[in-house]
Amino acid sequence: MSQPAAVMAQKTIVIGLGNPILADDGVGIVTVERIAQQVEHPLVDFQWCSLAGFELLDLLVGYDKAIIVDSIKTGKYPVGQVMELEADSLMSTVRLASVHDINLATALELGRMLALPVPAEITIYVVEVADNTTFREGCCREVAAAVPLLEKAVINLLTERYEDLSVKGGVAHHA
């Protein structure tokens, strides 16, 4: 069954955030790099970077939907636990904090205020990490084990949105 043209034309960006040389912090980047090797679609773009605030806004402009994969360190959840952030979490962080640049929610709100075409829907997957302050390549065992779960979550979401999503090179289907 084909999808309505308006839905089909919607563009999605999948962004992996983090620092690949800062231990577990690189999990978002590793995940999205792997997803980009597995699936493709003309309306889906993949990016991985160590960005925040204004730079993230630059990436998001022009897309209808966004999927972000990042690490989080709350100390409240088991290391390696994969979670989805509720939409209200994003908005509750609209505030002035004390480091350089603005946060994601503020960046999005600014984009809307200035009539920039920012995504109407953003899904954020996070994984609880143990160490994001030590320079080291590679994640700890628990966080590395979360990567397939994150991949599955993102690919399932993309499959729901784009039924003609192409799977490259016979990689196992996640659904």
């Binding site: 955030l17 620092n19 040389i21 800062l22 912090d25 970077c49 160590s50 960005l51 925040a52 605030g53 204004f54 730079e55 993230l56 630059d58 990042d70 690490s71 989080i72 360190k73 709350t74 100390g75 409240k76 959840y77 636990q81 994969v82 979670m83 989805e84 952030l85 509720e86 209200d88 979490s89 994003l90 509750s92 962080t93 609209v94 505030r95 002035l96 904090a97 004390s98 480091v99 350089h100 640049d101 603005i102 946060n103 994601l104 929610a105 503020t106 709100e109 600014l110 205020m113 200035l114 009539a115 920039l116 997957y125 996070v126 994001n132 302050t133 030590t134 320079f135 080291r136 979550a153």
Partner: protein, 485 residues
Amino acid sequence: MKKISIDPITRLEGHGKIDIFLNDQGDVANAYLQVPELRGFEKFCEGRPAEELPRIVPRICGVCPVSHHLASTKAVDGVWQVEPTPTAKKLRELMLSAHIVHSHTAHFYALAAPDFVVGPDAKPEERNILGVVAKVGLEAGKEVIKNRGYAQSIQAILGGKATHQVNGLPGGVSKGLTEEERKEIEEKAISIVEFAKFSLKLFEDIVLKNKAYVDLILGDVYKINTYFMGMVDEQNRATFYDGKVRVVDPEGKEYAKFAPADYLDYVAEQVEPWTYLKFPYLKKMGWSGMKEGVGGGIYRVGPLARLNVSDGMATPLAQEAYEKFFATLGGKPVQATLAYHWARLIELIYNAERLLELARDEEITGPDIRRIPDKTPSEGVGIVEAPRGTLIHHYRTDEQGLVQKVNLIVSTGHNNSAMNMSVKRAAQGLIKKGKVNQGLLNMVEMAFRAYDPCLACATHSLPGQMPLEIRIFDEEGQLCHSLRQ
């Protein structure tokens, strides 16, 4: 899958902290700032080919990648004892100017303007860039986004990527500039100069024409007396990419002027047990704690420092603004911490003008972009002025060019003592008889925010910013207030 909510008061580990200790009258006895530090960078670099470091160090954090890339590239020039070609130096400086424009724009509109345009005691939900745009208008907001984006795209043209640049090589750069690219940069630089003029005028109209704000800037609450450090050219004008490092004392007299390679004769670092971040100080004076004034050895870096150590600016509009700055604030050196914001805008205009000058330089599209190193690698120091201040990279290698030793002193490190002293001074001036509220604590934070401290990795961990926690302890050391932003 589990769905979670992150609310503003959720504790996130690895955040910055300001601890304020009250005495039995409820006044501030002491205050300490703690910022987390990344660990293990030296070990991470050991054994790697030194020429890889310029591509690795931009990953230290996503906030000032160009500064790290260029300090590192200059350090590897030193390791191979090779002088880059004139065109290569200009291309590197062009990229640094674009980076300063980009960073200073973000800081002013996202972090400084909310306190002045919206108001220092406004509600936190309004005291942000959205509140600024609501006040200055949507068209101005669009100019902020447009020109910040222009600066970002110039960095991408020159560095290969908008962040995590890859063009620096010992002896030069890997990519030259085509005439088409030069024209694009020139057009963008023209727009950036106009935007910088607008930003400076905005500051003058909103802040300098408001006596209450000028009094706030010049008041004792936001003043400490320190030395200042920054890079100058041969005529002692402020410069960012190349020059000598000049230090002036708290009265404005030149204390030292040295070549980057000699920095260890002038700077040493103190380790304190309560924080990971070291405390650099002027070595010849020795460490005597966080002591103000002549002989104290505590110095500051960054926009205010660069103006204080220089005898002028090398571009006309910046020079005009420089003269007005010192005439308004009572001559050199200016010790008012909040003057960092005005200084930052003067640097915005300098770098905008410098962008345009370099884009129109006949050599900038020259083909001679690299001198091939032919010496045995050994040791090198690279210093540039990053947006937040002097940035030092120092590498030592074996004869194969494999890294044996790395030392970095970053801008936020240089300012560590001064930030602590500024926070303590502000807390002592603002918190009396135990009376604390959100507005007062924001005003304490303003003393810290003026330095535009870079807290590295946390800037890209969700929820997007590293929270800062302020804790107030009573005379018995019991926690009595805690606020997180």
